[in-house]
C-alpha cells in the first residue's frame, strides 16, 4: 500500500522522460563494446597459445591410427562449432549494440531498468517460416554430423591384420586395473583357447609398433579407465566385465596414460606408460619376459636382498621362479596384519562385519601386487607415478627402451618409496588392505632390497 503514497516510480520516470528523451534512441558508440571485443580476443588468444604448449597427454597430438581417426573426426567439428560460436556471439554483440537504448544515469541508478518513455518497437510475436527454418536447418546439420560420427565410431574398435613379418601377429593383452596400478597379461597367441597368460607384467605396457593390439580391459576392484590419449580414446575397466579395445602406435616411443575413472584414494597417481618398440625389439622383449628366475644361492651377490624380498614383499609381489603366486586378488590374515589393526574394520551394531569384511577368502580387495620378475626393465613403478630411469622418455622415444637398464636409475626415489610408500603416494588404506603399506624397513634393508630389485632385468 505504501508504494502508492511514496509516489511510485512512474512520477520519477516521467520526470526523467523529458530529461533523457533525446538520449534514449542514441546507440552507444562502438567504444563501449571495446571491453567485449578485448575480452573475446584475449579469450581466443588463450586457446591458441594454450594448445601450443607441450603436454604428454595431449589429445590433439595423435601418434596412433585410432587417435588419428578421432582427431580427424573432431577437427572439422571444432571448425563447425567455431563458426556457430562466432555467428551466435556475433549476433548477441550486434543485437546488443544495434538495439540498445541508453539507460538513464546519475542518482536514479536504481530505476535504471525502467523505461523512461512510451516508445515501443514493432510488436512481433513470431514468424512461422523462420521457426521452421531454424528447426529444420540444425536438424539437417546434426543428421549430417551424426552420420559422419557414427561412421568413425563403428570402425574405432576394428583390428587390422598385423604387418608382414610381425613375430606375434595374434598377441592379445588382458589389461587389468587395480587400485592403483595396471597389470598386463600377455596372451601371445590370442586369448581364445588359453586360460593362462604367457607372462604378466605391470605399469609399462609394451607393444610392437604399427600393429593393432587387441586389448581386453577389466578390473579386480572398482571401475578404472585405461587411457593413452596419443594412441586411442579411453575404455573403462569394469570388474566382472571385459571390454575389447585397440592400442596401436604409428611410431616408436613412450606414451603417457592416466586412469580417468575416479577409483578412490590414489586415483590421481594411477598412471601408465605405453611403450611402442620395433617388431624385433618386441620379440626380444617377449623372450626376456618369458625367462623365469632361479633362486640365488647363499653366498652369491644379492642373496640377502632376495631373502629380504621373500620375507617382506612376497606376500603380495611375485617373482617367477622365486616366489609362488598362490592366490589371485585375495589377501590373507597375515596380509591384513601388515596394515594394522583388524578390529578397526568396520563393524555393524550386532557385531558382525559389513560387506567388506575380511574373511580370508576371495573378495575383491586387491591383494596381488605387481609382478616384479623383470622390474628393472620397466621405466616406471608404483602405478607409473615414479620414473625408475630419469631419462626413460628420451631413450624410449629413440628406440632404446630395451637398453634402459644400462642407464642411471633414480635410487633416491626408489629408496623413499621403500622407506614409506604411503607418504610417497597416498595409497595404503589400512581398513581396506590396499596399496603398499609402510614396511618399517631399516636403511640397510632398503639398500639391500634396491640392489636386488635392480638386478631383476
Amino acid at each position: 500500500m505504501t508504494f502508492f503514497k511514496l509516489g511510485g516510480t512512474s512520477q520519477i520516470k516521467r520526470s526523467l522522460t523529458s530529461r533523457l528523451r533525446k538520449d534514449t534512441d542514441m546507440h552507444s558508440s562502438p567504444r563501449q563494446y571495446l571491453k567485449w571485443i578485448l575480452f573475446l580476443t584475449v579469450f581466443a588468444l588463450f586457446f591458441v597459445t594454450g594448445c601450443a604448449s607441450d603436454a604428454p597427454l595431449d589429445t590433439l597430438d595423435p601418434a596412433g591410427r585410432k587417435a588419428d581417426g578421432i582427431n580427424n573426426l573432431i577437427n572439422p567439428i571444432f571448425i563447425i562449432a567455431g563458426i556457430v560460436f562466432v555467428i551466435i556471439q556475433g549476433a548477441v554483440l550486434y543485437i546488443a549494440w544495434k538495439f540498445k537504448v541508453k539507460a538513464p544515469t546519475g542518482d536514479q541508478d536504481v530505476i535504471d531498468g525502467g523505461y523512461t518513455d512510451e516508445k515501443f518497437p514493432e510488436q512481433v510475436h513470431g514468424h512461422f517460416a523462420a521457426e521452421i527454418g531454424w528447426t529444420v536447418g540444425p536438424t539437417i546439420l546434426m543428421a549430417a554430423i551424426a552420420i559422419f560420427s557414427v561412421g568413425v565410431l563403428i570402425t574405432l574398435d576394428d583390428v587390422d591384420a598385423a604387418p608382414e613379418g610381425a613375430p606375434y601377429p595374434d598377441v592379445e593383452v588382458l589389461v587389468v586395473g587395480q587400485q592403483w596400478w595396471w597389470e598386463y597379461q600377455y596372451y601371445l597367441d590370442g586369448m581364445e583357447g588359453h586360460s593362462e597368460p604367457d607372462f604378466v607384467t605391470a605399469n609399462d605396457f609394451v607393444i610392437p609398433v604399427k600393429q593393432d593390439i587387441r586389448i581386453h580391459a577389466t578390473s579386480r576392484d572398482v571401475i578404472h579407465s585405461f587411457w593413452v590419449p596419443r594412441l586411442n580414446g579411453k575404455m573403462d575397466a569394469v570388474p566382472g566385465r571385459t571390454h575389447p579395445w585397440v592400442m596401436q602406435s604409428d611410431q616408436i616411443g613412450r606414451f603417457a596414460g592416466q586412469c580417468t575413472e575416479f577409483c578412490g584414494l590414489s586415483h590421481a597417481y594411477m598412471r601408465n606408460y605405453t611403450v611402442a618398440v620395433s617388431q624385433e625389439d618386441f620379440a626380444d622383449w617377449v623372450a626376456n619376459q618369458l625367462i623365469e628366475r632361479t633362486p640365488i644361492v647363499e653366498g652369491e651377490d644379492n642373496y640377502e636382498g632376495e631373502q629380504l624380498f621373500i620375507t617382506n614383499c612376497a606376500r603380495c609381489h611375485v617373482i617367477n621362479g622365486v616366489t609362488e603366486r598362490d592366490r589371485d586378488g585375495t589377501i590373507t590374515a597375515d596380509d591384513m596384519a601388515m596394515y594394522g589393526n583388524i578390529e578397526e574394520y568396520r563393524n555393524h551394531a550386532d557385531g558382525t562385519l559389513g560387506q567388506g569384511k575380511f574373511t580370508g577368502e576371495a573378495n575383491l580387495t586387491a591383494g596381488a601386487a605387481p609382478n616384479l620378475t623383470h622390474f628393472a626393465t620397466r621405466s616406471s613403478y608404483a602405478g607409473s607415478f615414479f620414473e625408475l630411469y630419469p631419462d626413460a622418455q628420451e631413450i624410449s622415444d629413440q628406440g632404446g627402451y630395451l637398453g634402459l637398464a644400462e642407464s642411471d636409475f633414480s635410487r633416491g626415489t626408489l629408496e623413499a618409496w621403500l622407506r614409506n610408500s604411503p607418504e610417497a603416494k597416498p595409497n595404503a588404506q589400512p581398513e581396506q588392505a590396499r596399496g603398499m603399506p609402510n614396511l618399517n624397513l631399516s636403511e640397510a634393508q632398503i639398500d639391500l632390497l634396491v640392489d636386488y630389485l635392480m638386478v631383476l632385468n
Binding site: 500500500m1 581417426g69 540498445k100 560420427s149 590421481a268 575383491l364
Partner: protein, 676 residues
Amino acid sequence: MAIVEKEEASGELEIGEAVTSEEKPLGAFTRPRGGNGWKDWLFTVDHKKIGIMYGAAGLLFFVIGGIYALFVRLQLARPANTILSAETYNQVFTMHGVVMIFLAAIPLAAAFANYLLPLQIGARDVAFPRLNAFSFWAFLGGGLFLLSSMFIGGWWENAPDGGWFAYAPNTGVIFSPSKGLDFFAIGLQITGIASLVGAINLIVTVLNMRSPGMTLMKMPVLSWMLFIVQLLLLFAMPVISVALFLLTFDRLFDANFYNVAEGADPLLWQHLFWIFGHPEVYILVLPSFGVISEIIPTFSRKPIFGYPFMVFSGITIGFLGWGVWAHHMFTSGIGPVAVAAFSVSTMFIAVPTGVKILNWLATMWGGRIRFSTPMLYATAVIAMFTIGGLSGVTHALAAADTQQTDTYYIVAHFHYVIFGGIILGFFGGFHFWWPKMFGYFLSEKQGKLGFWVMVLGFNITFGPQHILGLQGMSRRIQTYSQGQGFDLWNLVSTIGSFLIALATLMFVINILTSWRAFKAGKTPAPGPDPWDARSLEWMTASPVPEHNFDEVIQVERQDEFWHRKWGKNEKGEVVRRATAEEVAHDGSNTNVHLPAPSYWPLIAASGLPIIGYGLVYSLWLCIVGGLLILGGLYGWVFEPVDDPNAEGDHHDHDGDKTNLTLDEGSDATNEEVAID
C-alpha cells in the same frame, strides 16, 4: 497489539490442559496464527515465504559449495600441491558436486517455482500449502543431514568420498568404509522426497488453479518451463530413489545389488544414476530458460518471439532428455550399437535448445533493449550457454568423447551449462524479481559491476579448462605433475574462481547496502511494476501481500497484465491504456481467506533426518524419527480444516478487524478450476 498476544498463544506446542477449551476449543490442534516473528516463518504455509526460504537456503548452500570449489582450485593451483590430502580432496570435490547440484541448483529452481508459479497463474497459493511447507523442511533437513557428515566423527572423516556420481562398486563399504556414502545416500533420499512432494504439489497447482481464462497456452513461458520441470522431477526422482535404496541396503544391510563378487554388474548403478541424472540437467536448466524468457521480452519491450515454439521446444527437451542418458557412458563398455544410438539421440537434443537460443535473439532483434542488470545476465546466459552447447555437440560424437570424457574438457562443458546457463540465469532472476519479492531495488551500479566480475571470473575459471581437458588433464585428480603441461591454466583457473567468489560477495553486499539505502529513504519504492513487465506477478503490490491478489483476475490473453497497460491505436502503434498502478492490485483487501499456518509439516519433516542418523548410527533413533513423522501426520490430519468463520482461522492482515463473511469473488481463486 493483538498480534503479539496471538503469537504467544501460538508458540505453545505442549499438549495439555494449560490451554483452556474456552479460548481454544481444539486444544493441541489449534493452528498457529500469522504474525511477523520467526514463528511465522517456521510454521508458514505461504508459498512466497517458502519460496524465499528455498532461495535463502539455496544461496547459503551455494556459498558453502563455492567454498569447497575454492579449496579444490587452491589444491590444483600448482603441481604437486599439498593443501588438501588425497583423502580430504576426494571428500571436498564430492561435497562440491553434491551440494551444488542437490542443495543449491535444485532449491534455487524450487525458490522460483514456489514463489512465482502461483503468482504467474493468478492463484492464491499452491494446491497443498502444508505439503509445500513439508517439502521445504524435508529438503532443509536432508541438506543439513548431508552437511553434518563433515563434522560427525571428526573433521572431514565421514564426508562422502565417491564423487557426486558415486559409481559402484567404489561406493561399497569395502572401498569406502567411512560413513560418508551412507550420509550421501540417505541425505539425497530425503531431499528426493522433498522434490517429489513438491513436484506433485506444483503439477496439481498448475493444472487446477490457474486463473479463469488462463488456458495452458496462455501461461507465461516461465510457468511452462517450471511445469515441465515438475513433470521431469516426478519421473526422475523415483529412479534415483531406487538406486539410493539399493546402495543403502548394500552398505547397511549386506545386500549385494552392486557387489561384483556376488555376480552384480556395476553398470546397473550407472544406468539408474544417469536415467535420473540426465533429466536432472534439464530439471536445472529449464527454470533458468524460463527466467530469461521473462526477462528478455520485458527489457526488449517486445513479446517473446515464437511463444508456441518456446513452449514446445521445452516439452521436446523434456521428452528427449529421457533418451540420452547413456551418453554419460560412452566408455563404460555398453557396446557400439548402444553408443551409436545414444550418440545420435544426443545430437538431436541440440535442435530444441538451438530453437530457444534463436528465439531469444529474435525477441531481442528490433527491440528497444535496456541493459539493466537482469538483462545483462539474461544476455550472458545466451552467450555462455551457447558455448556449453557447442562443446556438448563435440562430445555427442561418441568417438571424440572417448578422448574427452572424464577430462577437464567435460568439467568446462558442464560448468558452462550449469554456471553459464543456470546460475547466471538465476542471478538475473534475483535482480529482476527482487523488488517484487522484497519491495526494494538492488543497486544497478553494484549489480552491473558484480555482473562483469562474475562473467569475467566465470570465463577465466572455466575457459582454460577446455584447454586443460584437451591437453589430457583428468577429472577428479587430486594432483598433477610438473611437465604435464597443466601448470599455467590451472593457476589461471584458480584466479578466476576467486573472482566468482568476489562477485558472489558483491551480490550479498548489494542486498545489504540496497536495503539500508531503501530504509534510509534514498531509493524509491519500486511500485508494483518497476520494469514495465508482462506477467501477472507484477499485477499486485511489491512486496506481494500474503493473499497475492485482491481479486480473481479474469485472463483473456497471454501477457494479460501488459495488455491491460498497453493497447494499440488505429495506426497500430502501442499506446498506454492505463498505468501499472491503476491496473495492479494494491493489496488492501483484508478479506481473503487463506490457509492457516501449521506446526505439523515441520514436525513431520524433522523426523526424516533423525531416521537418517538412526540408519547410520543406531536403529533406535529410527523409532524416535518414525514417531515424529507419525505424530506429525496425526496432527496434520486432525488439525482443524479451514473454517473461515471459526476462531483461530487465518486471514491476511491478521489482527486487523476482518469481515468474516466471505466475499464470493475473492474466494473464487482456489475453487475455480480452469482446465481447458
